[in-house]
Amino acid sequence: MNLAIIKYNAGNIRSVAFALERLGLSYTITDHPEEIIKADKVIFPGVGEANATMRYLKDKKLDQVIKGLRQPVLGICLGMQLLCAYSEENDTPCLGIFNEQVKKFQPHNHEKVPHMGWNSITFTESWMDSSVADKFVYFVHSYYVPVNAHTSAITEYIQPFSAALQKNNFFAVQFHPEKSADVGEKILHSFLKVT
């Protein structure tokens, strides 16, 4: 399988690459539109700030490339948020694959922001392996995607939010499968198996 990881100014590309290596997979880290377009599957990772990242993607014309992809695409963390229509993080219009508004968590009682650590995922309707339902995965984020028609898994923190999304060939997770031990590896496998 020809697997492309989109290279951009995001923090954890290396972690995603190492996770794929642990699964015995090879990959290309690239920002060349042709290489991304011809890949069998594309991973769009990300840790960082929405506004600067969107600007970078536009400068590199990667925004149009990502929107036009027809093969399975997996957005991770910021990658998932950027696939939505808009983010409250520095008032940023995003890619609009999912017609959702990304909102900021408001600290509540003893629940702190960022939402950092291991939390469980509940499935609604999901492309993920059923054995990972209700299991724990690792989150680090201050912004969230509300539950919507394309939500494929829900996590509760301050309020229920989308832990995973899917629409057509676009898949997305708010947590970090590459840092979520064996459960995360199963979820990466689930994405690699989708056709």
Partner: protein, 251 residues
């Protein structure tokens, strides 16, 4: 439900784990990569690697170690020790570290916290605060707790948060190494004061101490070193106990 985190801390010198390690089924107890992977398999929620020598010569060894850890360990890990500038951090991020921890350098130059948060995101920046109680005041210390500063724990913790730290690692120097329990009172106060997560450190000796840190101290995570390394307490035993005691934990 978000779970409380258990974090083993590994002290590194010349690319090797220092302090004794008493583990069954480990070929080389000094190898930080193997030890880290073993903790991950046992259910550790995160790992911390501290470069305790942190000299220029050691730095390259440490960066290559970070790369090996990132390659082989499938849970998040923080690296710290001797980080004093934005330039020190970039190679660690590139090697695959999930977070960096800064301590003395933040006290010396608080702007470093702002710069790191802006450059890499708050989630990447852990500020470690070592404090001890002098005349009824918690005073921040640097250099492994040996040098008192003019900073007070609570106002410094607030400042660190406001400057963009994503997490605070609080060590009570009075409790560190005593195995008499974490410093619960300041922990409770920090957790009421702050909206970023707080990791409790220093003083763990028993399972009950962790329960106190979470239930009374309201800590988000608890860190220990020798207790785990010497096998006095195993992570599965600790997590089972906490779960039975009503603490939200990942099993």
């Amino acid at each position: 439900m978000l779970t409380k985190r258990i974090i083993p801390c590994l002290d590194i010198k010349d690319g090797r784990t220092v302090k004794g390690v008493n583990f069954i089924n480990i070929r080389d107890a000094g190898d930080p990569v193997e030890l880290g992977a073993s903790y991950a398999n046992q259910g550790a929620d995160e790992l911390v690697f501290l470069d305790i020598a942190a000299t220029t010569e050691n730095r390259k060894t440490f960066v290559s170690l970070v790369r090996q850890v990132a390659r082989h360990v499938n849970i998040p890990f923080t690296v710290g020790g001797g980080i004093s500038s934005v330039a020190d951090v970039a190679p660690l991020l590139e090697a695959g570290a999930d977070k960096v921890s800064i301590n003395s350098a933040a006290v010396r130059n608080p702007q470093l916290i702002d710069d790191l948060a802006r450059g890499f995101g708050s989630q990447f920046v852990v500020v470690a605060i070592d404090a001890r109680k002098d005349y009824n005041q918690w005073i921040v210390h640097t250099h492994g707790g040996s040098k008192p500063t003019d900073k007070k724990l609570f106002s410094w913790a607030r400042e660190v948060q406001d400057r963009g730290a994503g997490e605070i690692l609080f060590t009570s120097m009075d409790h560190d190494g005593t195995k008499q329990g974490f410093a619960i009172d300041p922990l409770t106060k920090l957790n009421e004061l702050l909206h970023v997560p707080v990791i409790a450190s220093g003083g763990a000796g028993t399972k009950e101490h962790f329960l106190q840190a979470f239930s009374l101290g309201k800590a988000d995570a608890a860190l220990a070193a020798s207790l785990f390394h010497f096998g006095e307490l195993t992570i599965p035993d600790l997590k089972t106990y906490l779960n039975h005691s009503g603490i939200s934990i990942r099993l």
